[in-house]
Amino acid sequence: MKLSTAPETVAAGIQLDAVSRPDIEERFQALLDSNGGALVRLAASYTRSTSDRDDLLQEIAMALWQALPRFRGECSERTFLFRIAHNRCLAHLSRRRPLVALEEEEIWLEDPRPPADLQLSEAQRGEQLVRAVHRLPLIYRQVITLTLEGLSYRDVAQVLGISESNVGVRLNRARQLLKTFIEDQR
């Protein structure tokens, strides 16, 4: 299977734009409409501020726009979209700060520890989950964010280019770490 997922030459994009632009525009908009929320969550899990997240979202959308004409249906469009998005997230991370530091970083500035005896609301538990996802090492963060978006092992394997058994191993480890990180906040 050969798919190009990064924004290659603009020249190629321009050429292809001219060939099938209305169809590409329609598919592009449909993908954004049906996956906008997922893209926002994905971008937010790789960034530390709203403006960074919005920049990354634009990069992802731009990469999708340039790569979509070369999509030949080897996998679902959603898988294709997530592959592009994950690659852009990696590129974004590599430009921002050392990747190793992501294991230890605390992303959000507000106090992550609500009083232990307080019954947590759903929103608070959601925030705890997001903070915990941010703390995951990259390879685990990749599988967990895709799984949380409802992708199957097969889809995750296709997005990341790894075997399904490897997805299972990484997901199991990610789940354990996530649980630990959530408990750390209590």
């Binding site: 299977m1 050969k2 798919l3 190009s4 997922t5 990064a6 290659e8 030459t9 603009v10 190629a12 321009i14 734009d17 592009f28 954004l32 906008g36 929320g37 893209l39 926002v40 969550r41 971008a43 709203t50 997240r53 979202l57 634009q58 959308a61 731009m62 726009w65 690659n87 990696l90 590129a91 991370l93 590599s94 430009r95 700060r97 050392p98 990747l99 190793v100 929103a123 538990r125 959601g126 925030e127 989950l129 997001v130 996802v133 090492p137 990259l138 390879i139 990749q142 799984t147 949380l148 978006e149 409802g150 990341l160 280019g161 790894i162 490897n166 990484r170 789940r175 996530l178 649980k179």
Partner: protein, 192 residues
């Protein structure tokens, strides 16, 4: 807790975390960015045509030896720049982005290409500056003081060299940091 139930509970919490408005105007932003990139792509072609065409036209009209020589030097310079740029870009235009690892490899090649590009641009700049100075000393009817204060030397030499050097240092530092992060990421991926 059962892992499947736990994962389902997390999935519900995760999906509740979304600011849908953030993706609302993406299409317009992409359209704007596409227009900007087209301009960026066309710009080197326009500069090539303007400078190369200008010198060629002048040589054709005046037919003076030095104008012909200048046009030849300009076109040789343009050819070197385009050849060098295309050479440095090889292998970075068509990514094998099937996997995360392939994308990281491609990103590493792009970073290395960018770093080589800075060195190449530096050499080309210095060579061109030397040629301009030699040209001025050979053909300009004035002394060294006037030559060193002439506008091409002021713009390309006194202002251009520090500006170019500062940009090169800043850009190289940024790309080196990016390259370090990517190499580290590749190491992490290979360890798995």
């Amino acid at each position: 807790m059962n892992p499947h139930i736990e994962m389902e509970a997390w999935r519900l919490l995760w999906r509740a975390q979304s600011d849908g408005r953030a993706a609302a105007d993406l299409r317009e932003r992409v359209a704007r960015e596409t227009r900007r990139k087209k301009v960026v792509l066309i710009w080197p072609v326009i500069v090539t045509i303007a400078i190369g065409g200008g010198t060629a036209w002048r040589a054709n009209v005046s037919a003076h030896f030095e104008d012909v020589l200048l046009a030849m030097e300009t076109w040789a310079f343009i050819a070197v720049i385009w050849t060098g740029a295309l050479w440095l870009e090889r292998g970075t235009w068509r990514p094998l982005g099937d996997t995360t690892a392939a994308f990281v490899d491609l990103s590493i090649r792009r970073c290395q290409s960018a770093l080589a590009g800075v060195r190449f641009a530096g050499v080309v700049y210095v060579v061109q500056l030397v040629i301009i100075l030699l040209w001025q000393f050979r053909y300009a009817p004035s002394g060294p003081a006037l030559i060193l204060s002439s506008w091409p030397v002021v713009v390309l030499g006194w202002l251009g060299v520090p500006g170019f050097a500062a940009f090169g240092v800043w850009f190289s530092g940024r790309k080196r940091a990016e390259l370090r992060h990517l190499l580290d990421l590749r190491r992490q991926l290979r360890e798995q």
